[in-house]
Symmetry: C2
Subunit: 384 residues, 2 copies
């Protein structure tokens, strides 16, 4: 395996009825800002549980962090943080709310003139406000990492940072908070978790068998548990297992000592920025294209994936790879997520446009950093 | 799965050539005590690498932490820590050196009259000196947890604590430091890692499929990689994979939301305290007995273990379980570790003796806390 450094100080508190524990996890004298999205936490009881747990704490609220959280929205929160002397952030929601709050935490401590500069330049982050999370939408793994993906409306850009200073102090994972998730959010989150694992697994072999087994374990569990949630949204065990899979998908653990790809995410971010497609949807479109296009470079791992995750052992190599890609798409479609550009009425002209936007930022993608303008265009044309 | 809390702030720095990184991980002004065992680090180059990395730091040394580290030895180190104003501990070795150093870290900050009281009563630990480790003997997982097992010669007791205050700040895992390990230490460490995973996996089913997959992944990897090390002790990849398996075996991750057993460890500790058998050896003796004796209560997991780890799918349930236990013993024996009391000339009278010692401490063992005096005796008699 490759040399690596792993560090993850987030405390995870998992299980039903755990929201009251935030009381002991946030300093009694803290001035807390509770951040959330469109208000679903007001309908599912999470808001009430949090406010009850924080009785006696000083709490202000910031509502309205949108999916694909916007820079412009986060700056409003930063201004409120400074105006009200907030010194602890508590994010309640999914990856968008948590990512947005993480950006707020870093931006509030940044002395430079333009916090946008932190995206793509995490070394500028020297400090951040402490934050905790109450996760209500599993998928991104944001509850146990230090990364944030932020969008900027004025430039249709979507960029990210990853910093040791912005891990949550704690994250509360109560699977019951996900019982009332809309199907689309559940599907998007599940696809996101699945593709994140593939980004860290489907590369080239560096003789890291334990990490491979862990990745395969997450994929197998997502495939087994997602239909149970579809059949019964209040299945606590299945909800728990999906939630824990998603955390494991991007807390750094399966990535230890492994090469990483992330081409599908980078291409998908452009589709989201340009066409407003959901993050999970964008991944379901792009990942099968990357698998097809990179089949020779990823051959050994694709065959391992075909065998261990989908039980495909018959036929020649090409046919096993084709079947594994088809099974992957089938899984996404079974969740109600389209896997073609046409499913979202995105035109084939998106291919050269996305390719040139990435090329303009001098981005070479994939585990070999050799997927450039031409290859991105080819990958997207495979998805028309 | 069960509710759980997970917290593990240890930074892992993994790979060849990483020892020099301790320079940036220990504060420049710290007064460091380097702790180690019998001096093997003076022969394999680790001592020299550490001293070189710490040039400019103030460093004192404490040598002689023995296998199954003794309370009496640790107290000498605590006295030296206080006399010399040490404020950072650096342990270089395996689980015994790390556990001993962890106890020193807690005892040095303990105001009570008798630091032995911390064993079995971790709530007394409110603070500890910071510590880092350079791991040279994989097996115990001590490099990424907060537990310590300490022996007391005067009472032939072996007890433990587990505390959030005693996680290493960092651990350096350079697989090259293990190239020259004696066979017996390699075998003991590998058995320890294997049995630790079984203690957290072979219980009852709580519908935690991801954690099951992780545990099975560690077991499968240990089984696949150990023979490669036996064939070529300088096989870097195999050494790396064994090392990473061992860390994963007891850093708390596979235990999340799972019931835990630990009966084999508790019984094994008594064998070590009474007869001086190595820790790994004691586990290889006891675990097959626990598997046989508890086969009805552990049935579902034993059958899953038989199928997924050993590929046993034919025959009736009893025969699959018998075969799985036999395969487990065979694996231990392939490493050169005896699995019977007689292999170490331990008499059958050990059975009632160990049983009464545990009963005297009012210890009920196993995931159901129902293995008492009678059952412990029966388990050990199965191993005569």
């Amino acid at each position: 395996m490759l040399n690596f450094t792993y560090y993850n100080p987030t405390k995870i508190v998992f299980g039903k009825g755990t929201i009251p524990e935030i009381r002991g996890l946030i300093p009694a004298k803290a001035r807390v800002m509770l951040t959330y999205g469109g208000g679903s936490i007001r309908h599912n009881g999470v808001h009430e549980q949090i406010r009850h747990a924080l009785e006696g704490h000083r709490v202000v609220e910031f509502c309205g962090i949108e999916p694909n959280p916007r820079y412009e929205t986060c700056l409003k929160a930063v201004a409120q943080v400074k105006a009200e002397g907030v010194d602890f952030l508590l994010a309640a929601g999914g990856g968008s709310v948590i990512d947005g709050t993480r950006f707020i935490a870093a931006a509030a401590k940044y002395a430079g003139p333009e916090p946008w500069d932190l995206l793509g330049n995490a070394s500028l982050i020297r400090d951040a406000l402490p934050l905790g999370t109450v996760l209500t939408l599993p998928g991104t793994g944001s509850e146990m990492n230090g990364g944030a993906v932020i969008s900027r409306a004025s430039t249709t850009e979507k960029l990210f940072f990853l910093s040791e200073h912005t891990y949550p102090r704690f994250s509360i994972l109560d699977p019951e908070t996900t019982f009332t998730l809309p199907d689309r959010q559940f599907a998007n989150g599940t696809v996101d978790a699945y593709v994140q694992v593939l980004e860290q697994y489907l590369t080239y072999d560096v003789d890291a068998p334990l990490q491979d087994r862990f990745s395969e374990g997450i994929l197998l569990t997502l495939i087994a548990e997602a239909p149970k949630v579809k059949a019964d949204p209040r299945n606590y065990n299945a909800r728990s297992n999906i939630m824990w899979c998603a955390t494991n998908g991007l807390n750094g653990w399966i990535a230890c000592g492994q090469p990483q790809d992330w081409a599908s995410h980078m291409i998908g971010h452009e589709l989201t920025a340009l066409y407003g497609v959901d993050h999970g949807q964008s991944l379901a479109i792009v990942m099968p294209g990357v698998m097809h296009h990179q089949r020779d470079r990823k051959r050994k791992k694709l065959l391992q994936y075909a065998e261990r995750v989908w039980g495909l052992t018959g036929g020649d190599e090409e046919s096993r790879i084709d079947q594994a890609i088809a099974k992957t798409e089938e899984f996404f479609r079974s969740l109600g997520i389209g896997t073609r550009l046409a499913d979202y009425r995105i035109p084939a002209e998106s291919a050269p446009l996305v390719a040139s936007r990435l090329a303009d930022r001098k981005m070479l993608l994939g585990e070999h950093q050799d997927i450039g303008r031409k290859e991105v265009e080819q990958i997207l044309l495979l998805r028309a």
